[in-house]
Symmetry: C2
Subunit: 203 residues, 2 copies
């Protein structure tokens, strides 16, 4: 574990090595399944000694986390601004921004959905998105019961993620603008419309 609490800058060699490992993992995940990727394979493609991997990461999972967190942070911030919107026109526009961002980082998100053993990460993303909507929707009004709010926010989060996945699998066919409209009507409008008519569910 090189340079634990870096007093100054990070050693250029360290940055280079970590970047090579990240790129090698991404490159491999676009070719084969995550479960079949070995650490030896990664270090080989990164043109780095095998043991070097363990000098920077404790496990393959940790490397994968670092790779995905990079791009997922951008998605979360966009969703956060989206969740605060209440006007109809702004909702569509923000929805479009999300799908444009996805399209720009398509490789990264393809990895997120395609790979098999990242269900854990996907769950974490769902949790984050749901939390965003849970807090931003609470002051919106007449949601009855904690459970109902939890169900609704979870519904929004999972639906959005599933829609993104579907879009990627269909080669991003409908344009981001069109997907923004779909997102608004199919997820947001219908959910807020339904929640107000939902029964108060026993906790």
């Amino acid at each position: 574990m090189p340079r634990k609490s870096s007093p100054k800058e990070v050693d250029p060699r360290v940055r280079r090595t970590r970047r090579l490992l990240r790129d090698a993992l991404v490159s491999l995940m676009l070719e084969e399944d995550f479960s079949s990727i070995s650490i030896r394979e990664i270090t080989e493609r990164a043109e780095v000694a095998y043991i070097t991997f363990y000098r920077h990461y404790e496990s393959l999972d940790q490397l994968l986390m670092e790779v995905l967190d990079e791009g997922l942070a951008g998605l979360l911030t966009r969703i956060e601004t989206l969740a605060k919107q209440s006007e109809t026109s702004a909702l569509e526009a923000e929805g479009r921004l999300i799908f444009e961002y996805i399209g720009g980082n398509a490789d990264l998100f393809r990895i997120l959905f395609k790979s098999q053993s990242v269900a854990r990460i996907r769950k974490r993303v769902v949790k984050n998105i749901a939390a965003i909507f849970q807090t931003s929707c609470a002051p919106l009004g007449r949601l009855d019961g904690q459970v109902t709010i939890a169900i609704a926010s979870n519904h929004i989060a999972t639906s959005l993620l599933a829609m993104i996945e579907w879009w990627l699998e269909n080669n991003m066919k409908p344009t981001p603008a069109e997907m923004g409209k779909v997102y608004k009507s199919l997820i947001i409008d219908s959910t807020v419309g339904a929640v107000s008519s939902l029964p108060v569910v026993s906790k």
Copy 2:
């Protein structure tokens, strides 16, 4: 591979062995993560010789498939009858039946969602459910454009699965009857309401 094209009945020893292996896998998956389960561990718990596993299955995946297909078939048939309903009262009742079925086979579905390397299976399930709704919703009426239908049916399938997952993680707290209502209003009503107002998306 014992008794490939069985001319008569299956050897009792074979049925016993396969059952032991299936039960051992389920038992282990409820304790630890799928990725950390070894074939030796399974045969050990099943009280069966290591090599016996390979006399019945080619891979661990194949065993997992056999285990999950068993219970997923029941879910799909219930969803199929549900998809054909159009009356409001029947929708709620059928929705309740689904969650009651899930509750009855909770262990199986916990495995489906909890385990990590079954994203492939989950995807297959989504595809099946979406296909059901796609065919049963097409004659329902005024859905414009193939893409819109595809998005909507995918939305229903993923939302239903996500709702089931949420319900299991919350220890099946709201009753199946309440979940049936939530399902109807949050997924079905809002989706069919939204679809009719959706723009025709370019193919």
